[in-house]
Symmetry: C2
Subunit: 419 residues, 2 copies
């Protein structure tokens, strides 16, 4: 679906906590077609309000439920200090919005979507996010519950990389979104919303990148293999180009995303650096000697220098395809493993506020039992800049004691500095 | 690529005819993050200015050319009277922007893109557009030349369905977008831009639709075949469902986009109407008797009533797949042919202004030799509401006499009322 991005200001005002949360971040259109507008238009920061305006018209009966829509769109949230991909005044995302007949169904949907995001992060982006529930303080403006995936970046800051909200009946009550159930009763619908944005691109860059540039997990790399032909004398060119074409064709037919850079305006050395910076996982070099030997040179982006370089890899189609596919799998697995190791070695289990302060001051994440108040949570933020990133779904067994108050705690929470 | 949608007002002002053309249609953000902005921000009506702002930074040398980018985005143009899909305050489009070293290369690119749009219209949307060049009066604000594809809707109004512009050096001079050529000379780049929008969706609806709803050409139909199972008694269900599953699988494996509607909340009759309204090209019904006969009932969306209905089409996989593929091809060809016949029977060749007035008053398009002034063109608009849609690329041979002035005319132009 696609909804208008200009939302009448009066829509935003209907859900009390929603307008409270978003009003400092709004961009407002006040002039249109040369005239001052009677009602200001909000450039959408998120679409719950305008979606509910339409859901109210579309939903009459339980037969219309569940109603589940998704849109890919730009959204605007005014930022004082921007940071490429991570905090931008405008960003791109997908936002899903659903309406259900029961709370249970809405809760199931919200959980399912955070699972989808978690799987995507692990299996495709090789980012070992920690899924969990947000604290009340950090819950989305207008939601009853917010689920999140939290990722540790290379500088150890936490990135909220995707969220899924159980909105309860907050928006359906504000907008009168009702349905007649199977027994003829009029009820308000139960809703969810969930989103993942271009911020995730920043997450990929900052999880895997190094000083040479990007390092893209093979499964999401637009180019998986870059082929750089090398020749010096004019008569070498024809034979190298022929071999390059053949290797490209072999890999393409095997479903590998491959590109040849045969530009004569740039040197091979320039190209090596360029595609390293672009994060291409595998580089193949082919020179006249390689053609003679019916082999190629294969380099891994994630293993620097000679260690990542293999000479004499056969050009024989089935051997080459198996070799390259194997390397791409190796790189995918290795990037994830490296990120898991990095993450786990930078999370500290704490049992006192002092230990939390120490962990945070070292730039690490702190994990510990927590059942203290919202006020205590804000105090931690004020004194350490760390916030509760989530109550992770994966919880240690046994009884726990809140590290702040000493009271019993049902869950551990993860604290960290974030973007 | 993706460029920001908020463009500083000062950018828009840099190209004189651009700001003149677009300023009446702008939406302006004047408040951000709760504060009055120092410089108003334009919500992009098109992106030439912000693209050139970046091209100026990115382009240094002939090695950087051609630079060709595309973005899929929303754009905003203030409209007093909106019309779904055709004139909307916000719409979605792709916009391409290119920079070249020579005028010839830019002209070739602009022509290539209008050809791409023409092919898409004919081959996929079954819309027999007329490609041509816009008159000076109708040329894009900031372009030297605008190419267009013009489509005749069901009410015989003309729809400008896609455009491609040769921008010359207008924006590169305004923004100082320069490059060093192979001889070390500094030159301004030559540019093009081209776009097709969600307006095209309106074109599809209004070319093929009828009183029962949409009629989608099979090549672009999201659902090409809808299967409606029919059973009355409980014991019929299992056998019908089994046959439906098997037919769905057969068609899916053959690459046909097929959907089954087995909801028990709606009757078959409701479903028939629903998927006709949605424009699904082919409907398959399967009831208990069909299962016994190992056959299905096939209906065409574009042929109403019994004439479009075939009974006893065999369920045998290869026969069924061939039959359905054949029907989809028939429908695609038939929709295009019907639209061509409609178009051609509603274009009148005129040799005087009186004949033009008569044709236009009958709601038809008028085609005739034209070499009169911009003022004459505006007079025609004022007196008949018709504008020059294009000088079609396909021109009659021989000498011609302008139907307005009697002077020699090199080309015929097409006049019509438009949206």
């Amino acid at each position: 679906m696609y909804f208008p991005q200009f939302i009448p200001y009066s829509f935003i005002e209907k859900e009390a906590s929603h307008v409270e949360g978003f009003s400092p971040e709004l961009a407002l259109v006040t002039i249109g077609g040369g005239k001052e507008l009677e009602e200001k238009l909000v450039v959408r920061p998120t679409s719950e309000t305008i979606v509910n305006h339409m859901f109210t018209k579309w939903i009459q009966s339980y037969r219309d439920l569940p109603l589940m829509i998704n849109q890919w769109a730009n959204v605007t949230r005014w930022e004082m200090r921007t940071k490429p991909f991570i905090r931008t005044l405008e960003f791109l995302w997908q936002e899903g919005h659903t309406a259900h007949a029961t709370l249970e169904e809405a809760e199931k949907e919200a959980m399912q979507m955070i699972d989808v995001y978690t799987k995507f992060a692990f299996e495709h982006a090789a980012i070992p996010v920690i899924p969990g529930r947000k604290s009340r303080v950090e819950t989305f403006a207008g939601a009853n519950r917010t689920y999140t995936i939290e990722a540790m970046m290379g500088d150890k800051k936490a990135l909220q990389a995707g969220t899924s909200h159980n909105l309860g009946q907050n928006f359906s009550r504000a907008f009168g979104t009702q349905f007649m159930d199977e027994n003829g009763q009029i009820e308000h619908v139960w809703q969810t919303s969930w989103a993942i944005s271009t911020r995730f691109v920043g997450g990929i860059i900052m999880t895997h990148g190094d000083d040479a540039g990007l390092m893209l997990p093979p499964r999401i790399a637009p180019i998986q293999v870059i082929i750089v032909p090398i020749w010096k004398k004019g008569d070498e060119k024809a034979v190298v180009v022929e071999a390059v074409d053949s290797v490209q064709k072999i890999l393409k037919e095997a479903g590998i995303r491959v590109k040849v850079d045969d530009s004569e305006l740039r040197t091979p050395g320039w190209k090596f650096n360029h595609y390293e910076m672009k994060g291409v996982p595998v580089r193949i070099e082919i020179g006249p000697r390689d053609v003679t030997n019916k082999s190629v040179v294969v380099s891994r982006r994630d293993v620097p220098g000679k260690q990542g370089k293999e000479f004499g890899v056969s050009m024989e189609p089935s051997i080459l395809v198996n070799h390259i596919k194997g390397r791409l799998d190796d790189i995918q697995a290795s990037l994830l493993q490296k990120a898991i190791t990095f993450r786990d070695s930078n999370i500290v289990d704490v049992s006192s506020y002092g230990e939390l302060k120490e962990a945070i001051s070292e730039g690490k994440w702190a994990r510990g039992p927590w059942s203290a108040s919202d006020a205590d949570e804000l105090k931690v933020k004020e004194e350490t800049s760390a916030t509760i990133r989530c109550y992770p779904f994966e919880q240690p067994e046994g009884t726990k004691k809140c590290f702040m108050t000493g009271n019993p705690a049902e869950e551990v929470a993860i604290f960290a500095k974030s973007y």
